[in-house]
């Protein structure tokens, strides 16, 4: 679709200034209102008229949703904290560096200054067919245009696809899953906590949504427990160009070692499935293992087990295997930061 140089179709704008007011508005108008964090994903949909809304609830005035607080060795990050603030915060850099690295590699400086952590983990997929308004499964139709014989599907899923082959585009999501983060979700006056790994959902569970958020829900806080503070971390993002771009594949790991042996590990890969993919089999194989070639090869092969590439994305299989090996081995990344 040609880019439309025009204004966004009209909507009513709500700008709550407190969390309570925001939660009430979201509960009240959940079905019809668009919840806007930094807006970096929202504006594309609205300007392109691929999605429309009667009303926008803009969270940018809710100061309670911004900021990073130290809590019992861990951190509580407000959902509206910008990616720049996450990437530059001393406690995030010192103790949870994998998240700082991931946030610093999102898009461009201006986007990181405005885009938020809550928005980055709640953004919609980048599948070009879906984003251009084709009535695919994810848009409520009954076909996947990215999985037809003539489809261009270089950026699509190699694992976990179910009818829809779109992938999770977030860089911070794999880092948060690797850190055993928790998502705090507000619904009216009620609050519930969801593990980061369970926050993201694939098409077999919900083909229309990327997260567990339902109409009326508001993601308020991301909790990072002390569990992995100061662990050996690795984050790498492979993309076509070194700025703006979404990952072709990214990987995040957190590893604890004792006397040269891995005691516990988290290895999570993004942009290969509809949700950040935690590699439980790899993690189990690493427990008690020395970091040597044998361990790396086994981890790489376990990672890609069951991969089913589409016509144009078979390159993702060796890419994922090698990124997982690097994430276990550690050392400097191949990506500029």
């Amino acid at each position: 679709m040609a880019t439309i140089h025009d204004v966004i179709p009209p909507f009513q704008l709500f700008q709550p200034t407190t969390l309570d007011a925001a939660a009430d508005l979201v509960r009240e108008h959940g079905d019809e209102a668009w919840i806007m964090a930094g807006g970096m994903d929202s504006f594309d949909w609205l300007k392109d008229r691929t999605k429309r809304t009667e009303a926008v609830i803009d969270l940018s005035m809710v100061e309670e949703l911004r900021g990073i607080r130290e809590v019992e060795g861990g951190l509580e990050i407000g959902a509206m904290t910008t990616l720049t603030d996450v990437a530059e915060h001393p406690a995030v850099r010192d103790r949870f560096g994998v998240l700082a690295q991931a946030a610093a590699l999102v898009a461009s400086p201006q986007i990181r200054h405005q885009g938020t952590l809550g928005g980055n983990v709640s953004q919609d997929t980048r599948c070009a067919y879906y984003r251009r308004g084709w009535t695919c499964y994810r848009a409520g139709g009954n076909i996947c245009y990215a999985d037809t014989p003539t489809a261009i599907n270089r950026e699509h899923a190699i694992l976990g696809a179910s009818r829809c082959v779109a992938v999770s585009p977030s860089d911070t999501a794999p880092a948060l899953v690797a850190l055993d983060a928790q998502m705090v979700i507000r619904r009216g006056g009620q609050e519930r906590v969801v593990e980061a790994e369970d926050y993201f959902v694939g098409p077999s569970r919900d083909i229309r949504h990327m997260t567990v958020l339902e109409s009326g829900d508001l993601l308020t806080t991301i909790r990072i427990p002390a569990t992995w503070a100061g662990a050996r971390f690795y984050f790498e993002k492979v993309r076509d160009r070194e700025v703006w771009d979404f990952p072709l594949v990214n990987v995040a790991s957190a590893i604890r070692e004792n006397g040269g042996r891995i005691t516990e590990a988290r290895v999570v890969v993004g942009a290969v499935a509809a949700h950040p993919l935690r590699l439980h089999d790899v993690e189990e194989s690493l427990a008690g293992a020395m970091v040597n070639d044998e361990t790396l090869v086994r981890a790489g092969e376990l990672a890609i087990r069951g991969a089913r590439p589409l016509r144009y994305n078979a390159y993702k299989v060796p890419l994922m295997r090698n990124l997982v090996k690097r994430a276990v081995r550690g050392g400097p990344t191949g990506t500029t930061a």
């Binding site: 880019t3 204004v7 966004i8 709500f14 508005l25 803009d58 005035m61 201006q110 200054h113 405005q114």
Partner: protein
């Protein structure tokens, strides 16, 4: 080329395309153009629901308080260009993918095409028009660009300048690589990056000496 001759500034007898457009905007054509750009939709015809924003607002732009009528769905780039006549902020892609519309909001570079004007109420906005001093003395970044002839067509220039001014507030003495990373959110279709970086480095140096 080091040409330090003063730049002619548009006076009453020196009507440039830019000052002509500004005059037209200030002179009333704005009424019809905004009627086209921001025509009433079915929603704005209804009474505003409780809790929605007031359209009339005050924006702090380049050190001035400007009263302006802003639609809820209006981006900062549109307000600056079509309501306030500040056409130095360029619209390239209108999708946060080129950087031409970069302005500073509280000293932080942002894409004005992707900011709701209502979300920056009460914040300090600086555009390229606010760089030079009131007496016409150019900002060091502007001076550096003139001295090094950093741009070709220069459509992207105001965005590059604002991104640089914002970046230098955090890192006044960057290496060439750090500066390149600082302005990595701006594209130049002329592919003139090497000369642009040289000019911006010169500007950063002038800023440190000032």
């Amino acid at each position: 080329m080091h040409d330090n001759a003063p730049i002619p500034r548009g006076g009453p007898t020196n009507v440039t395309r830019r000052t002509f457009i500004k005059g037209v905007i200030a002179g009333g054509v704005v009424v019809s153009s905004t009627a086209y750009l921001f025509r009433n939709g079915p929603l704005s015809a209804q009474a505003a629901r409780a809790g929605t924003v007031e359209r009339l607002m005050t924006l702090e732009v380049n050190g001035q308080s400007r009263r302006v009528d802003v639609a809820p769905n209006e981006t900062l780039a549109n307000t600056l260009r079509y309501k306030l006549g500040l056409t130095g902020t360029k619209l390239g892609c209108d999708r946060a993918e080129c950087g031409a519309c970069t302005v500073l909001v509280d000293d932080v570079p942002r894409y004005a095409c992707s900011v709701l004007t209502h979300s920056v109420r009460g914040r300090r906005i600086q555009t390229v028009e606010g760089l030079a001093a009131a007496d016409g003395t150019l900002h060091p970044i502007q001076q550096g660009i003139i001295e090094e002839q950093g741009f070709q067509c220069a459509f992207c220039m105001s965005g590059f300048m604002m991104a640089t001014v914002g970046f230098l507030k955090k890192n006044p003495n960057p290496t060439r690589e750090e500066l390149a990373h600082g302005v990595s959110g701006n594209l130049c279709r002329c592919q003139d990056y090497d000369k642009i970086l040289t000019a911006l480095e010169r500007g950063a140096q002038l800023a440190r000496e000032a």
